[in-house]
């Protein structure tokens, strides 16, 4: 799926919907509305239906497949999302750009259910703006029948043996991360010289890459269009689980990305009350567990853990052991370097 295309008509609906929202303020009898902007495959349909049923709030869900898109969309000023779910480094940027609201902790029940490991991170030190939603890793999914030996290094993505069978995430930070980790550097490197040199490596790598894709990577691997795919663990875990051992997912030995996606309230949203209802809803352990069971990404809700399917809870691809987490690193907002990375990424994508 390429959700930006699908989101165009949805966006129009949203615009139409915001007119209706204003009317609702005058005539409270009309159904309340909640506009959610979220990653693809991040909210199971039945959970959403239950929320609507319980609260009587109409929801509209719009999806994206890159953090950069959230920023672009919220910056444009035309979107009026009440809920968004950015990743760590982008959350920092959204906060510094004043695009998200400070949360009123008194309106949130169940905050104590959250796993402290994912609280008070650099990107939002006191969790004044965000509630961790799900977390995970970025690594490599691959077809065990098409590779000589089990993959354990980012080097596989640069291995000429897999020419034309490699998929890269269509995501600047993740793509840069693969090279930086291979070179033993931090994901959050800001030295322009290093970044330019990384970009050159990525440009050369293009000859091996079949396609860049952030929304459908696991499906492409399952369908046999690629053999080695850079991707996030949730969809990969789901694909691995249903592949009867044909596929595997690994966080390379050089270390990978640890990411935490958090729920925030964009300042442009108009339905704050409904948004708080949504926050309280997803903080419920029961609901949090159903979300994890539905999307195969690890949840940040500690109280939900016992309610999560055993197969998922024990899947190392979803809940990696501590030694894997130890070699992972959180992406951080790079401030002014963002511009350089955007520019280099454009050049990489444009190169032939």
């Amino acid at each position: 799926m390429k959700p930006w295309i699908l989101s165009a008509p949805l966006g129009l609906l949203l615009l139409a919907g915001c007119g209706a929202g204003e009317k609702a303020a005058e005539a409270p009898k009309e159904p309340r509305q909640l506009n959610i902007y979220i990653w693809t495959n991040y909210l199971p349909q039945d959970v959403l239906a239950d929320f609507e049923k319980r609260t009587g709030i109409k929801t509209r869900v719009d999806t994206y497949d890159s953090n950069e898109t959230i920023l672009a969309k919220l910056q444009s000023g035309v979107a009026d999302y009440d809920i968004a779910v950015p990743s760590d480094y982008m959350l920092k940027a959204l906060i510094s750009e004043n695009l998200v609201r400070e949360l009123d902790r008194s309106r949130l029940q169940g905050f104590e259910n959250l796993d402290p490991r994912f609280l008070n991170q650099k990107f939002d030190p006191e969790n004044r703006h965000s509630i961790p939603y799900v977390w995970g890793t970025a690594g490599i999914g691959y077809d065990t029948t098409k590779v000589a030996a089990p993959i354990d290094s980012w080097g596989a993505l640069f291995d000429p043996r897999y020419k034309g069978r490699i998929l890269m995430l269509d995501d600047a930070r993740e793509a840069f991360g693969t090279v930086l980790k291979l070179q033993g550097k931090s994901l959050n490197e800001t030295d322009p010289a290093v970044l330019r040199q990384v970009a050159e490596v990525l440009k050369k790598q293009k000859a091996l890459v079949r396609t860049y894709n952030s929304s459908d990577f696991a499906n492409l691997l399952t369908a046999g269009d690629v053999d080695v795919a850079h991707g996030w663990n949730g969809e990969m875990a789901e694909a691995v689980a249903s592949s009867k051992g044909k596929l595997a997912y690994v966080v390379p030995k050089e270390g990978g990305t640890l990411w935490i996606d958090s729920v925030v309230l964009p300042t442009s949203g108009r339905n704050t009350d409904a948004a708080y209802e949504f926050l309280r809803f997803v903080l419920e352990p029961e609901i949090a567990a159903r979300i994890v069971n539905g999307i195969h990404y690890a949840g940040a809700n500690r109280a939900a853990l016992p309610k999560i399917d055993e197969a998922i809870r024990n899947d190392p691809a979803i809940y990696p052991p501590q030694e894997v987490l130890d070699r992972c690193e959180l992406l951080e907002d790079l401030g002014p370097t963002t511009e350089l990375i955007d520019e280099l990424w454009t050049e990489i994508k444009a190169a032939s």
Partner: protein
Amino acid sequence: MRRRGTWLLLLPTWLVLGMFFLVPLVLTLVLSLRQRGVYGGVAPIPDLGAYVTSGSFLGNYARSFAGIYAGIGWRSLWMAVLTTALTLAIGYPVAYALALRAPRRWKDLLLGLVVVPFWTSFLIRTYAWMFLLRTEGLVNRLLLGTGAVDRPLEILYTELAVMIGLVYGELPFMILPLYASLEKLDRTLLEAAADLGAGRVSSFWRVTVPLTAPGIAAGIVLVFIPSLGQFVVSDLLGGARSMLLGNLIQNQFAVARNQPFGAALAFELMAAVLLLLLAYAFYMKRKGEEVLL
């Protein structure tokens, strides 16, 4: 009094043109002359005078002519030319058969079949091509099954796939204007040509083609322009190296957050399209034909 009346009558036209055409155009132009902010948006201009005199306002345009982007421009142009040529090569015989050879009672049905794809979203139809072309897709299974190939063809995520998608998507826009002009063609002219000694081939080139030139021109314009700005097909069917100008522009707005650069590229694309349209209008005027677009 009369003048004012005319003005009032034209007012809605001006309003619509202004709101939906002129204002966005001016906004795009202004945007293209600025520079991006760190996280996107536009950077403030501290000293307008210096900004103008230093030539910074043309920075985005200058950047767009750098090798890598110019390369994308050329590739987009080449793809659009190829798409146009292929749709013409495929569309002309189809339109010819429809207009001049098909039995009258089949005509409406056949013409309907040309239009039927429009009932489904272009996006969905392009997705369908993904399922046809992928490594373990229908086409490959068919080829492998019949023994035509011994290993699957890698079509999806290549420029070939983009080409297939473009030609497929644009074909009706070529066939329809060609059909319209072939339908109008006075068949006694073909008889006259035959009577004067022209064989089928000669009569085709000397009579049919020149007389359907307005349809050919309309088809070329209708196919070439959207192909030049195309980004859906290349995004879905194209691979790592199939980026087109449309994708680059879309990318600047959606992901790279360099709206001014995106605006500059969009403006250049518009200028190219406008030039083409002017050439078309000039050509049609000279032919004494009505400008259809």
